[in-house]
């Protein structure tokens, strides 16, 4: 530009320009102006209308106080200064989001005397420091999976759309895993607020058919003598979905075995596992070996801890949170303390050193990984932290004797527990020797007081990876938005005489029709609502 005002940062990103308009805070809306739909069916549907007062088109940011999917589906101009904003959400919570309305500075008047105003060449404001300009912490794009509901039971009544909403609910409720995941952005925001305009739309339809023959005459041998009628009914149940976003957790376990080399003693063969998940959980299957000669570097330096060598444990603060997961999100544990028994097993939540607990599901009653467990004697534990936040690893290297009666000589059992900060996974790596008491299968038990075994670590070829826990993600999924039913009826024929047909039939299909549109990369912009409270 030849004249005007331009402020950029070190990355040459534009901060203020007289050629553009910054977004400024207009108002905060804490409650909806109207509730347009509230249903606990279909997994829950909420459709609210918020009313904003602003001179120019509003750009609404919303908070997400629950773990449901949210989206702004449309904006309607009521009059010159009034706009309605439709917000939809999945789930049944009564908690409503807060809306933070932004617009360019023409949309609001400032009264303070101090500040800086930048004008466009047309004389209108592009920036006004007296208002609160939008500070965007991050922006990204998301896309939605093409199918909100993969399979379902179409058995709904064909007669006059008579199926109750209860029975429709399960037929159309979005699949729990129907979402795409993306890295979290704007994590530094104290109170994240999101701009996301819902564009993706999907439709699912269930078709049911039924016919009946009614006999007003005399039933005879499956037929009808005299006067009779044939009826047919067709019903098409449908549900429309809109795309939404949420902050959720991707399960990275409970047992996720990936390619990993165990070469503490020079073994470089890598086992490949594939994790398969369905509604009943996840399991891994061994798919073969590859020799990629990746070297696992044992960690032998760092701090050294001795302490009790027999039937004791080390309780050590971890340099970052370690996540351990159960089979559901709620049972996931975030801990900053790891407890390593001299008898080789690891517990979270509390420590234990007893040899009698080694193979017990009940005791100790906290999340535990029995890897390395046996009635052993420890020599030392070496702890090493490597890397820089947020990509640190901490490695705990155990050295001891297989048999607790041994007290002299070099260690004959070594293993390492390596925790990763960036993906919250934990590796268990042994030395490939034949451990006394090692059964080949190591159970992993669930959270506090749980006796449920949530997985096993495979023993071959001693390269083990457990990734228990969940990773926080931005997720793009589906929100039921509108539902209904269309039907058709036909009194097919009447007859007098003898009809040998009789009976009737039922049928249907799922999905009878389905379509998803607007699967495009759609912007998500994140700000910090605490700036504007």
């Amino acid at each position: 530009m030849s004249y005007g005002f331009l402020a950029t940062n070190n990355n040459n990103q534009v901060l203020v320009s007289s050629d553009t308009r910054n977004l400024h805070f207009i108002q905060k809306l804490t409650t909806p102006f109207a509730v347009d739909l509230s249903s606990d069916y279909f997994g829950g549907i909420r459709k609210w209308r918020y009313r904003a007062t602003v001179k120019t088109a509003p750009m609404p940011f919303f908070t997400m106080p629950t773990s449901d999917f949210y989206g702004v589906t449309q904006i309607t101009q009521i009059d010159a200064n009034t706009w309605d904003i439709e917000v939809v959400r999945s789930g049944t919570s009564t908690t409503v989001p807060e809306l933070y309305i932004f617009a360019d500075p023409r949309g609001v008047d400032a009264t303070e005397a101090y500040g800086m105003i930048v004008y466009n060449e047309d004389g209108t404001k592009s920036f006004d420091s007296r208002l609160r300009p939008l500070v965007a912490f991050g922006a990204s794009t998301v896309n939605h999976p093409s199918v909100p509901k993969a399979t379902s039971n179409y058995v709904l009544s064909a007669k006059y759309c008579e199926a109750s909403i209860d029975s429709r609910s399960g037929v159309f409720q979005p699949d729990a895993n129907a979402f795409n995941s993306y890295p979290i952005i704007g994590a530094a925001a104290v109170k994240p607020m999101y701009f996301f305009a819902s564009l993706a739309q999907s439709e699912r339809e269930s078709f049911s058919y039924q016919s009946e023959d009614d006999c007003d005459g005399v039933d005879a041998y499956g037929g009808c003598i005299g006067f009779g009628r044939d009826y047919q009914w067709w019903s098409w149940y449908w549900c429309f979905y809109r795309g939404g976003i949420r902050i959720g957790y991707d399960q990275i376990g409970p047992i996720e075995v990936t390619t990993h080399s165990s070469s503490i003693l020079g073994l470089t063969q890598t086992a490949n596992y594939q994790t398969y998940c369905d509604d009943n959980g996840c399991s891994e299957q061994f798919t073969g070996y590859t020799n990629n000669y990746t070297t696992y570097t044992p960690v032998e330096n760092g701090s050294t801890f001795f302490g009790t060598s027999d039937d004791g444990y080390w309780s050590l603060a971890t340099p970052f949170a370690i996540w351990c997961g159960n089979n559901d999100n709620t049972a996931a544990i975030s801990t900053n303390v790891i407890n390593i028994s001299t008898n080789g097993y690891v517990t979270f939540g509390s420590g234990n050193g007893s040899a009698t607990y080694i193979v017990s599901a009940v005791n100790p009653s906290y999340f535990k990984v029995m890897f390395g467990g046996g009635d052993r004697r420890a020599i030392a534990l070496y702890v090493t932290v490597q890397g820089s936040a947020p990509n640190r690893t901490v490695t705990y290297r155990y050295e001891g004797y297989k048999n607790y009666n041994n007290t002299t000589g070099p260690a004959d059992i070594k293993f390492e527990i390596r925790c990763y900060e960036n993906n919250r996974s934990i590796d268990f790596i042994d030395d490939g020797t034949n451990w006394s008491g090692w059964t080949g299968i190591t159970p992993v038990y669930g959270a506090a007081s749980s006796t449920t075994q949530i997985g096993t670590l495979q023993s071959t070829p001693f390269n083990l990876r457990i990734a228990p826990g969940y990773v926080k993600k931005m997720q793009a999924g589906w929100i039921p938005h509108t539902f209904g039913c269309n039907w058709k009826y036909e009194k097919d024929s009447s007859f007098i005489g003898i009809d040998t047909g009789g009976g009737g039939s039922t049928g249907g299909s799922w999905p009878y029709s389905n379509e998803t549109i607007n699967l495009i990369n759609n912007a998500v912009i994140i700000g910090d609502a605490s700036y504007y409270d």
Binding site: M1, A7, N9, N10, N11, N12, Q13, V14, L15, V16, S17, D19, T20, R21, N22, L23, T56, A57, M59, V72, T73, Q74, I75, T76, Q77, A103, D104, E112, A113, Y114, G115, M116, S129, R130, L131, R132, P133, L134, V135, A136, A139, T141, F195, A197, L199, Q201, F240, R242, H481, T482, G484, E515, I517, N518, I520, N522, A523, I525
Partner: protein, 94 residues
């Protein structure tokens, strides 16, 4: 605060704007009518990072398809086409 930049205060001494904090600038926020094609030139976005979005405005009943606009960028030109619902088009830049 870094050694360079601007920081603006209100009358109470509170920071109202700090150039250390990267923000996205609204380049434009304009209405496009359904079934129409609009192209706009913004010289300032040339060579800069741009994000676009759209919000359906006065959308038809939700039992009909609302096809979103296709928004493309060619250097400093933003072209909006292909939608069958009125939409507000948001262009952000930094």
């Amino acid at each position: 605060m870094s050694t360079q930049g601007i920081r603006l205060y209100d009358a109470s001494g509170n920071v109202t704007y700090d150039s250390d904090t990267v923000t996205w600038n609204q380049v434009d926020f304009f209405l496009v009518s359904r079934d129409s094609t609009v192209s706009k030139d913004y010289l300032i976005i040339s060579g800069r990072e741009v994000i676009t979005s759209q919000i359906f405005v006065n959308a038809p009943p939700s039992d009909r398809k609302a096809i979103a606009f296709d928004i493309t960028r060619n250097n400093y030109t933003i072209t909006v086409s292909g939608g069958n619902v009125d939409a507000l088009i948001l262009v952000l830049m930094r």
